[in-house]
Structures are given as structure tokens and as C-alpha cells.
Symmetry: C2
Subunit: 129 residues, 2 copies
């Protein structure tokens, strides 16, 4: 169903950080760490529409993310593939990430009225170690 190697699937359930690589307006790579979720088929990250990574992905909808095992930094999983950007209208997804990472089931750092998006990363190729 997916290309995730069995040996590294555990990382997808852990509280690691996904370093997301996107391509900026000048064609240059950009990278930064974010929370992630895994729904069994796609890696999911959250963003607001104004974020540079969303602008980058609307222009060039391919991404790579590398995630180290938080329990052993010498293990990592990289996922590359196309992305789909969807709304997160009731913030259910960002709230689920807050629950996963902080234990609090509501993400409280967005000003009122903030729009949230879900970036679905479809695994097409992986590398791992």
C-alpha cells in the first residue's frame, strides 16, 4: 500500500520532528522542522495559508521530509512525494497534533479566526537508515 519500510514504520507513530524541504521562489531549497501525523497512508503536517512552505508547495507541490527517531538519532526515515493541500476547517487536525505532542487536545497559539490547512504528503519514495 505504501513504500514505507517495515523497519522504520515505528518512527511515524513517535513524537519526532519532520524536517520539511520545499523549493522557494528562487528555486532554492528551504528546510524547517514541524510536527507530523500519520494516517496510515500519508504523512500529514499543518500550516496556516501565509506560511512560506504553503506558498512554495502551491508553486511546486513536491516535498521531502526527514524524521529522526527521537529515541535514536542515528535512525531516520525520509519520505518524498507529491502533496495535496486541504482545509482543516474545525482545526481537528492541528488539535490532534497538539494532543499528540503536548497532551493538551487543543492548539492554543493561533489568534482567533486563524485558517488552518492540512498538507498530505503521499509517500512515493523513501530512504532510511
Amino acid at each position: 500500500m505504501t513504500v514505507i519500510p517495515e523497519s522504520h514504520r515505528d518512527i511515524l507513530e513517535k513524537k519526532g520532528f519532520a524536517h520539511v524541504a520545499t523549493i522557494g521562489p528562487g528555486g532554492e531549497p528551504q528546510s524547517h522542522p514541524v510536527w507530523y501525523g500519520w494516517d496510515g497512508e500519508a504523512l500529514l503536517i499543518s500550516a496556516t495559508p501565509a506560511k512560506q512552505r504553503i506558498q512554495n508547495l502551491r508553486r511546486f507541490p513536491r516535498i521531502a521530509v526527514s524524521i529522526q527517531d527521537p529515541d535514536d538519532p542515528y535512525r531516520y526515515l525520509e519520505i518524498r512525494g507529491p502533496v495535496e493541500i486541504e482545509p482543516d476547517p474545525r482545526h481537528a487536525f492541528i488539535d490532534s497534533l497538539a494532543k499528540k505532542y503536548s497532551g493538551v487536545g487543543r492548539y492554543e497559539y493561533d489568534p482567533p479566526g486563524t485558517e488552518r490547512l492540512i498538507v498530505r504528503i503521499i509517500p512515493e519514495h523513501t530512504t532510511s537508515q
Copy 2:
């Protein structure tokens, strides 16, 4: 001298991991974590010539790396810029990384005769949190 914000310079001396974003042969981003060093002006990473990241950088010599503070994953520094690729003829640089990360002053995982390169990343733009 550099664009590294004073508030995040400490990360450059720590034993973190640099997630390096390069651009692959199909124009797609690629990402993976590596050791790094800092010489006061440039971020340095090591690689063998056969590595995909070296082939990527010879084609398109710009990079982004994001590094989380190993003591606080919610702090990070991203460095973007052009790269210069130099030889590491006596392996002094890879050995210095082995010393920094493992305490052992010699990197022992290369087969005899392995060629090592140094990728110098010139900070041109940073983001941090």
C-alpha cells in the same frame, strides 16, 4: 560577518543534526540528517563523492539546512546559501566530526581508500525560532 542571529549561535557548537535539503535530478527536494561542524564563517558537512547529495550540489550548488537545538527541539536554526565543495585529503575534517560526536578522534566506518569531501555552506539567509 555572518547572518547567524546571536540568539541561535549556540546551536552551531552543539551535537545536533543538520537536516540538509538539496534538489534532486528531477527538480524534487531531498532531505536527510547529517553531522555538522562550524568554523566561525561556514557550516561544514562531510560526504563521499558518490553520495546523492554531492551529485545534487554539483548540479545545483545551493542548500538549506535546519538544525534543532538537541536540548530544546522547539528552538531551531535554518541556514540557506551557496556551497563550495573541497577535498578532505587526510580526512582531518571527518575525523574532527567523529571526535565531536563520538569522542573518538578517528572516523572508522569508511573502507580503506575512501575519498572524503567537505561541503562548506556559506550562510546567506537564516530563519530561526
